[in-house]
Amino acid sequence: MNCQEVRELSSDYLDHRLVPSEASLLEDHLKVCSGCREEIETLRTTVSAIGSLDEIETSPDFLSQVHRKIERGGRVKRLWAWLFKPIKIKVPLEITALFLVSITAFYLYYRSPELSRESGMPAPLESLRV
């Protein structure tokens, strides 16, 4: 085994993932190559140092925040379900209702001079009168 191969296999070696024959070849190389020995030890120290990094803690109110989000999401879901489910029934009904309300509002606006005066614009039908 040469130095390049040792370098490629160094992580596997440290994680005990080499088959015994490969591990043996690598160790035979380490016995005669101080450069690779140093590389392996530095990598071992690096991995150990990474593993010793501090645990990062959440805030003390983390659990209550999670439940707050669950509850908030639950309210949104219930509102959504109330508005739109079952989809095949409620959505067509709501579209129809919206259409009817729009038509009614349009009709009332164009038929009513009082509403037009309040809006500051002449009623479209009045504006056509000579």
Binding site: L43, T45, T58, V66, K69
Partner: protein, 196 residues
């Protein structure tokens, strides 16, 4: 059906049955681990905590669909990893770490030469954290899961949806990157230890 080998089997099944206390115990058990992954992936503690909360909300809603095809912890890490990667993609701007340490000499402000003492120094830990932050996200995630969270290669592959070979190569490259960064620190430390 949750696997009998899953150490969280009891808590998961009780949570699936609506036991809020069981779900709370799962949150308390894993919250810091999720927080650790999120913080090191996002580089921002506030955002990481928000993401960690979202992870457990997803877990809460997804528990009914969890069939035990993997360990609960593996599934949790999968949700965490996907959430982190999605959040990073949505960000308009990513925080960049362009310079890991201004002056490595500063790390050796005292005469201690014992590498183990060195490792305990807060400055070195900050340095390591920054070196990890500087990794590409694919390598960073694998390194965090393996060397900090202690997952096996197989669990990482399962969590991230990767081939074992990909896990292996990303981990190796990540370790070499971090090693290159710390090598200078260790060599400076060695030189100081032999000074008369």
């Amino acid at each position: 059906m949750v696997s009998a080998q899953d150490p969280d089997r009891d808590l998961v099944q009780r949570s699936q049955g609506g036991d809020r206390l069981a779900f709370n115990q799962l949150v308390l058990k894993y919250r810091n681990r999720v927080m650790g992954v999120a913080t090191r992936m996002l580089g921002d503690r506030v955002e990481a905590e928000d993401l960690a909360q979202d992870v457990f909300v997803k877990v809460y809603h997804g528990l009914q669909g969890f069939q035990g095809e993997a360990l609960f912890s593996t599934w949790l890490y999968r949700v965490t990893a996907n959430s982190c990667l999605n959040r990073r993609r949505r960000r308009k701007r990513e925080s960049q770490v362009t310079q890991v340490v201004d002056d490595p000499e500063r790390v050796f402000s005292d005469r201690a030469s014992n590498p183990h003492t060195l490792l305990e120094r807060k400055e070195l830990k900050v340095f390591l954290e920054k070196a990890i932050q500087a990794l590409p996200q694919e390598q960073r995630m694998v390194l965090i899961l393996r060397d900090i969270e202690g997952l096996s290669y197989e669990e990482i592959a399962d969590s991230l949806g990767l081939e074992l070979g990909t896990v292996r190569s990303r981990l190796h490259r990540a370790r070499l990157e971090v090693q290159a960064s710390v090598k200078e620190i260790f060599s400076l430390d060695a030189k100081r230890s032999v000074r008369p």
